[in-house]
Amino acid sequence: MHRTKVKVLEDVLDANGTLAAANRADFDRHSVTVVNFMSAPGAGKTTLLERALTGLEGVRSAVLEGDVQGSLDADRIASLHVPVTQINTDPGFGGECHLDANMVRSAIPSLPLDEIDLLVIENVGNLVCPAEFRVGEDYRVMVSSVTEGEDKPLKYPLMFRACDLVLVNKVDLLPHLEFDLEKFLHHLDAVHPGVDRLLVSAKTGQGINAWRDWLVTAATREHAGV
């Protein structure tokens, strides 16, 4: 018996990347723009979707809800008459902390791709893991709420660098917090210089029109498969 070294040089997440590309091709073929929507738990993803998806001019949307357990978020979206599909990442106990390309792939047959222009994939609430796994999206949007502290871009640079738009939520609370908005934006620009950002409040409606406009612009872009 002797030992042999075998060169591998293979990206560990190649398999996920291949599935993500297949998902992307399916979405492009149906001219559906896909947004991977991420944040820490409780940052306000579902409320921001409830606010935005009810008034999308000329854009037909659907939501794919990723949660460890339950369908609380999906029920909220469904009550707005927006088609919603639930993925639970919990196979019995524990549950995955993120969606991966394979989970999204398995949900594609139940998505009404022919009837929509925009699919928002609401990822599992988590600032670390979802950033590592592409699922076939066109855009990545993250929510960072002002109750989370201004140091978050420095602590989770991968997530803040991976996204195309940052929604700074709960700005209505700024007068009551010690959150230094300038400092937060400075940290954001250190990690991801010039990334698009919107100051929003799902509660008061501040910035919601701009968030909706961003979604409409994203949903009406040209698709590779068309």
Binding site: M1, H2, R3, T4, K5, V6, K7, V8, L9, E10, D11, V12, L13, D14, A15, N16, E96, C97, H98, D100, N126, V128, C129, A131, E132, F133, P153, L154, Y156, P157, L158, R161, D189, A190, V191, H192, P193, G194
Partner: protein, 118 residues
């Protein structure tokens, strides 16, 4: 927590290249810019190798430092704090040239000694 998924992916990659041979070492290169906790990855690696050709294998992790390059002034530097703009000319047109790795570099497998016919 995604280290469990990553450990599974590492083992799947190693198994494919092992082609059934018992594997004693798996060498992994992890970039500093990836949010992978080595201790956590090693912990899960022990779990997910059970019942595979990698059972009992040693996981060797090489951490690759983050390196950035400026597209405007060609300056190159090692990233030691999360600041993605050029320290020489303050440009934000920077590209990551190292630190995003997450790859199985090599594995060591056991093979029957090849006995040449007399």
């Amino acid at each position: 927590m995604h280290e469990l998924s990553i450990a599974s992916a590492v083992v799947a990659t190693a198994e494919r290249h092992a082609e059934g041979r018992r594997t004693t070492v798996v060498r992994l290169r992890v970039g500093r810019l990836r949010q992978v906790v080595p201790e956590s990855l090693e912990f899960y690696f022990g779990f997910v190798t059970e019942g595979t050709v990698c059972e009992g294998a040693r996981l060797e992790l090489e951490v690759v430092p983050g390196r950035l390059a400026c597209s405007d002034c060609a300056h190159e530097w090692e990233l030691d704090a999360p600041a993605f703009w050029c320290p020489a000319c303050a440009s934000s047109a920077v590209t990551v040239i190292a630190g995003n790795e997450l790859e199985v570099e090599s594995i060591e497998v056991e093979e029957e000694a090849c006995i040449a016919p007399r």
